[in-house]
């Protein structure tokens, strides 16, 4: 642990100056209405809720709360718009989507700041990952709009109709892009609900969609919490639901639409296994572990939240990991130096803190980075748990925060069995320099996405989604078109 002491000295004598991103250039209104039928519309019942900055818990803006009356209007608008939009040629549809991609790129900096302000994620991530990927996603699917026949040989794909899309708070704009782009390319019309804690970039996107000249009613954006979502799910004129969120809500939705004509795709929770073999490039693997669990404060459904280290290198890896954790900068999301931003909401912070308590009560050994947390706002220090076992709740359940559970293993078969021992099946990671071992593992791991010698990488061309209780359907790539078409 001499290294750790050196590291602390380094940290004390070499602190970074603050480098906050300016907020002068962003345009935010005090109050946001619903975007229905091409107009910003006041909610029927006139209710609004606050969206707050989780790094200060101060209000940013009021946002309309859509009730079932508003959802009726939005679905009606989408249904009317479907007639024209679905008949429009793929070429023309594609041009609207290209235009949306370009408009996002032009305003990328503004979107990045608002994303970090509203959701608490580090500006480095919203600037370099969320916003560019969102624009690229529209760009990718725009090009599919007039080529759908090639995606489904010997079949004639047709749009489904009105699509209800409910998205989470961890990647607000990116998830909106994942949902909207393929649905538009295939000729559907949409009612989209962003999460109640992060509605602003979706509402800014509504402004862009409006500017793009997209025909009215093709995209409707409604804000609100669970009840608003339930109104979309249960609306009889919605033909498909696409949901990203927790496994519990996903199961509720699957049950709620049983026996109806509605189609469904679910992208749910995960408890990703990140496996480090003794023949891995250890320093790279340590970076991979950090990225796997601390990216976006661990608010990532595919986070590598279970670490498996081969016994022979366990001490080495864990020592290096602890030292690396000391260098992580937790704090102001708008500071360009920040590695870990604010926890998205008070409620989520309580959930994480509760799991940390559970971990301690289960007898696990905790290690938290020695970092100064800001006085105001929602914060959680990067956390490791050692001495955990398969049956521990912090190993089995999704925490959705910067909390990593570490286990060791001896043999390949052992780690495969342990890694696959959850109801989930979203992501997994493998670190080894042995090629055969990589392919053996990637084939055996129960997951929709496997990262080998890397982690938490995303791309519009790359299908993403889960197996088992992590949901069904894929987003991204050619496979991401399928959930939005039907066949004779």
């Amino acid at each position: 642990m001499q290294k750790k002491a050196e590291n602390k000295m380094f940290k004390a004598s070499w602190a970074y100056d603050e480098a906050p991103e300016s907020t002068n250039h962003i345009q935010l209104k005090k109050q946001y209405d619903l975007y229905i039928d091409g107009k910003f519309t006041k909610p029927v019942k006139g209710q609004y809720f606050d969206t707050i900055d989780p790094s200060t818990n101060e209000k940013i803006a009021s946002v309309a709360e859509a009730t079932s009356e508003d959802i009726d209007k939005a679905v009606e608008a989408a249904k009317k718009a479907f007639v024209g939009w679905s008949k429009l040629s793929g070429k023309e549809r594609g041009k609207y989507i290209f235009r949306i991609a370009r408009l996002i790129q032009e305003r990328a900096r503004e979107f990045a700041v608002i994303e970090s302000l509203d959701g608490g994620k580090p500006i480095r991530e919203s600037r370099d990952i969320d916003i560019p990927l969102a624009a690229n996603h529209f760009f990718y699917y725009a090009g599919w709009a007039d080529k759908l026949a090639y995606a489904f040989p010997n079949r004639s794909p047709k749009p489904i109709g009105v699509v209800g899309q409910i998205i989470p708070w961890n990647f607000p704009l990116l998830m909106a892009a994942w949902k909207l782009a393929p649905a538009l390319a295939t000729g559907n019309t949409i009612v989209l609900k962003p999460a109640e804690t992060t509605p602003l970039t979706a509402l800014k996107l509504a402004e862009i969609i409006h500017e793009s000249g997209l025909p009215k009613g093709v995209v409707n954006i409604v804000t609100g919490a669970g009840e608003t979502g339930a109104a979309i799910v249960n609306h009889p004129n919605v033909d498909k639901i696409a949901f990203t969120g927790s496994t519990n809500v996903g199961k509720y939705i699957q049950k709620a639409i049983a026996g109806t004509h509605k189609k469904l795709t679910l992208e749910l929770g995960g408890k990703g296994a990140n496996i480090i073999f003794e023949d891995a490039a250890i320093d790279q693997a340590v970076e991979g572990i950090i990225n796997a669990i601390f990216f976006n404060q661990g608010h990532v459904c595919c986070a590598g939240s279970r670490l498996f280290v081969q016994e022979s290198v366990a001490k080495l890896v864990i020592d290096k990991l602890k030292i690396r954790m000391e260098t992580l900068i937790v704090g102001n999301p708008l500071d360009k130096n920040t590695d870990i931003g604010a926890i998205n909401s008070k409620k989520q912070l309580q959930t994480i803190e509760n799991y940390i308590k559970i971990g301690l009560n289960e007898g696990s050994e905790i290690y938290q980075a020695d970092c100064k947390l800001p006085a105001k706002g929602n914060w959680c220090a990067p956390t490791l748990f050692l001495n955990v076992s398969q049956s521990h709740r912090i190993v089995q359940e999704e925490i959705f925060g910067p909390v990593l559970a570490i286990q060791t293993f001896r043999t390949i078969d052992e780690v495969i069995e342990k890694a696959n021992n959850t109801p989930y099946g979203l992501s997994a990671g493998v670190w080894t320099q042995n090629g055969a071992k990589i392919f053996h593992l990637t084939q055996k791991l129960k997951a929709g996405v496997v990262w080998a010698n890397t982690f938490n990488k995303f791309d519009p061309t790359s299908p993403f989604g889960g197996t088992n209780e992590s949901g069904f359907g894929r987003e991204g790539g050619l496979h991401g078109l399928k959930p939005y078409v039907k066949f004779d």
Partner: protein
């Protein structure tokens, strides 16, 4: 000299063996004149749960056998069925089919096995892709079997319908648990004999005979099944299957078609129904 024919005892097919129902129960199948054709095993929930354990244990080694091998095994099933086609035709006639329909159904069933046998080492090429990501990674997506699949077989076309649903599931590396046609169950169990002599490993296909009323909800709610395929049009049953499937986010497929003889029942998209897409990333720069 007259000779009394030897009648076959129809039993369940689980794990490559032919056990009776652990419950000891049966139900009678009669011909149109009311004469007994056979006493079928009335499978219980316990029989079903045993079958799930066996199908789960058989799944990974079946999935890991080569595509060529799976294709040859499916072709072998067709060969065995061809050799015994007269028996299957007679069995369908005994259960009420016309001679012409019975013959057509059996011949089509054999051809359908050959059709899906041929897809074994091809569908992966059809559905997989390399994804041109922007970062320095090699990224590809392939299909993998969903796992253990429950099949509620069609009531009519009890042989052709059954084969049309299970052939694409097993050629894709899944193992299946089938609830045979309740009213015409004979062909399914005779087909089990064909499977058993076709190099299909025990546990890959498991066939139960029994009552939908008793078993379908068990199929739909079981936590260790990955997918359920229901062939039929009972809306009440579709509702309860869909609701119970949400227990473990089971994938559901409903085939409401009445006619399994059309060419539209042959496509790789039937295989895709019981597959998952897996995407793998690896860096390309050192």
């Amino acid at each position: 000299m007259s000779r009394l024919a030897i009648q076959k005892t129809y039993k369940l097919y689980i794990g490559g063996k032919f056990p009776r129902s652990e419950s000891g129960r049966f139900y009678a199948i009669n011909d149109s004149k009311g004469n007994l054709i056979a006493n079928m095993c009335l499978a219980s929930r316990k029989d079903f749960r045993n079958a799930v354990v066996i199908a789960r244990n058989a799944q990974s080694s079946w999935a890991n056998s080569s595509a060529l091998n799976k294709g040859q095994i499916l072709y072998r099933i067709a060969e065995m069925l061809e050799g015994r086609k007269e028996q299957f035709i007679a069995e369908l006639i005994a259960q009420g089919e016309t001679a012409e329909n019975a013959k057509n159904e059996v011949l089509l069933a054999i051809d359908r096995l050959v059709y899906f046998a041929g897809w074994s080492d091809k569908y992966q090429q059809f559905f997989s892709c390399i994804n041109p990501v922007s970062s320095a990674h090699f990224n590809f997506s392939v299909l993998e079997p969903v796992g253990v699949v429950a099949v509620i077989a069609p009531e009519k076309q009890s042989l052709l319908g059954l084969i049309s649903v299970i052939a694409p599931a097993i050629v894709g590396g899944n193992t299946v648990i089938v609830l045979a046609s309740e009213s015409k169950p004979l062909s399914a169990i005779s087909f089990a004999e064909v499977l058993n002599s076709s190099d299909v490993p025990g546990g890959v296909v498991n066939i139960l005979t029994g009552k939908k009323e008793e078993l379908v909800n068990q199929f739909a709610s079981h936590m260790d099944l990955n997918s359920i395929i229901y062939c039929g049009t009972d809306e009440q049953l579709i509702l309860s299957i869909s609701e119970l499937a949400s227990n473990n986010v089971k994938r559901t497929t409903f085939y409401k078609k009445n006619d399994w003889s059309s060419d539209s029942c042959e496509s790789p998209y039937f295989i895709e129904k019981t597959q998952e897409v897996k995407t793998t990333w690896h860096p390309t720069e050192i």
